[in-house]
Amino acid sequence: MLTWMAWTWPTALVFIGIFSAIAILCVIEVRHPGGDERKGVLGLTTTRGDRLFLSLLGTSYIFLAWLGLIGMPLWGPLALSIGWGVFCFWKV
């Protein structure tokens, strides 16, 4: 049924990761409503969902920039992205 979507394990894992993150946020939101809104270091008022969005968007740009400017292998952008994600949830 899903052959037309041409699934591969790596892309499936990416989506499983994103959807799990959203599911976890939903559970946290049900337990602690309000989205943990705060004003971060960038001067933006963000909720948990905003921070996840920023982490993912930033990650895609870090990987794209690395691929365009440097190329393989991708351990560098992986480390940078994890750092960016931690920064987003901690400070932004």
Binding site: T8, V14, P33, G43, L44, Y61, G68
Partner: protein, 287 residues
């Protein structure tokens, strides 16, 4: 402990299902395509991130992206001030209001491909009204099929003709929602027309203008049909915008992998610019 009724979320489910079918599932498929090569027949071969590397380093992509940004920038700096100016000069009450509104809405009712075809015929140098007038009456050498500058002028003019109305209608909605008391206060203070615009009308229009600019940005950044019908991306590649190039790669060359990678990069750019813009414009309100 404070309890909140979360039932409202279930009412969002139909929308979620709809978005899943028309956006999420196709997008997942594009992500899958972007890391594989196919020769049709539903057979795929793993390629990793090769297509992304290839697209990000291709001159062709850089050129199309540059043209796309130029196009979007030009139409925004023309349509937004022009739209606001027209909205300001429209009557606020009386029988002319509906006439103006209908006239303004007319271009937006015309389908995109019809607009392209209309302007194509209108601008042809020998048979089109505009082309003939410019060439034979005014003596200006204007041929959008040969001259890249003329082609650009034509696609920009067409977009301004088609979509300025959207900015006008949104700005007008913002203007009519300003209570009279503001104008009376300004009159008592002896405020000039410019001050009224700068300190009353513009701040009150800010929210609708944000929406207008966002809509125009996203629409013009994804524009395909009108320039495709009007110039077909030519002369040469001079008006080949991102979406036209994307379709050439995907359907013309049947390179689904590179096309998928390109559309994801395209999507990331649209997402970032829209987010940046929205965040910057609404930052003050939230704080």
């Amino acid at each position: 402990m404070k309890t909140e009724n979360q039932k409202a979320w279930f009412f969002v489910l139909p929308v979620l299902a709809l978005v899943a079918f028309n956006a999420l599932i196709p997008m997942m498929t594009v992500v899958n395509y972007s890391v594989q090569e196919t020769f049709g027949n539903n057979q795929f071969f793993w390629e990793g991130l090769t297509w992304f590397e290839q697209i990000l380093r291709s001159e062709r992509f850089h050129a199309a992206l540059g043209r796309q940004f130029l196009f979007t920038f030009l139409i925004l700096i023309i349509e937004v001030p022009l739209g606001v100016a027209i909205a300001l000069s429209m009557p606020r009450s009386g029988p002319w209001v509906s006439v103006c509104l209908v006239l303004m809405a007319l271009p937006m009712l015309i389908p995109w491909n019809v607009v392209g075809a209309m302007w194509n015929i209108f601008a042809l140098p020998d048979i089109g009204l505009l082309g003939y007038f410019l060439n034979h009456t005014l003596g200006i050498d204007y041929d959008m099929t040969q001259n890249p500058f003329a082609a650009w002028v034509t696609i920009i003019t067409m977009d301004v003709w088609h979509w300025t109305s959207l900015v006008v209608l949104l700005a007008y909605a913002g203007l009519v929602s300003i209570p009279d008391a503001y104008y009376q206060a300004a009159k008592i203070d002896g405020a000039s027309n410019w001050s009224v615009f700068r300190y009353i009308q513009l701040p009150k229009m800010k929210n609708v203008l944000t929406i207008a600019i966002l809509l125009r940005f996203m629409d013009s950044f994804n524009i395909y049909t009108e320039p495709f019908v009007l110039t077909g991306g030519g002369p040469g590649n001079s008006t080949t915008l991102l979406s036209i190039d994307l379709v050439k790669i995907a359907l013309g060359q049947f390179d689904l992998g590179p096309a998928a990678a390109m559309s994801l990069i395209y999507f990331a750019i649209t997402l970032l610019v829209s987010w940046l813009f929205y965040t910057l414009m609404t930052k003050d309100d939230l704080n």
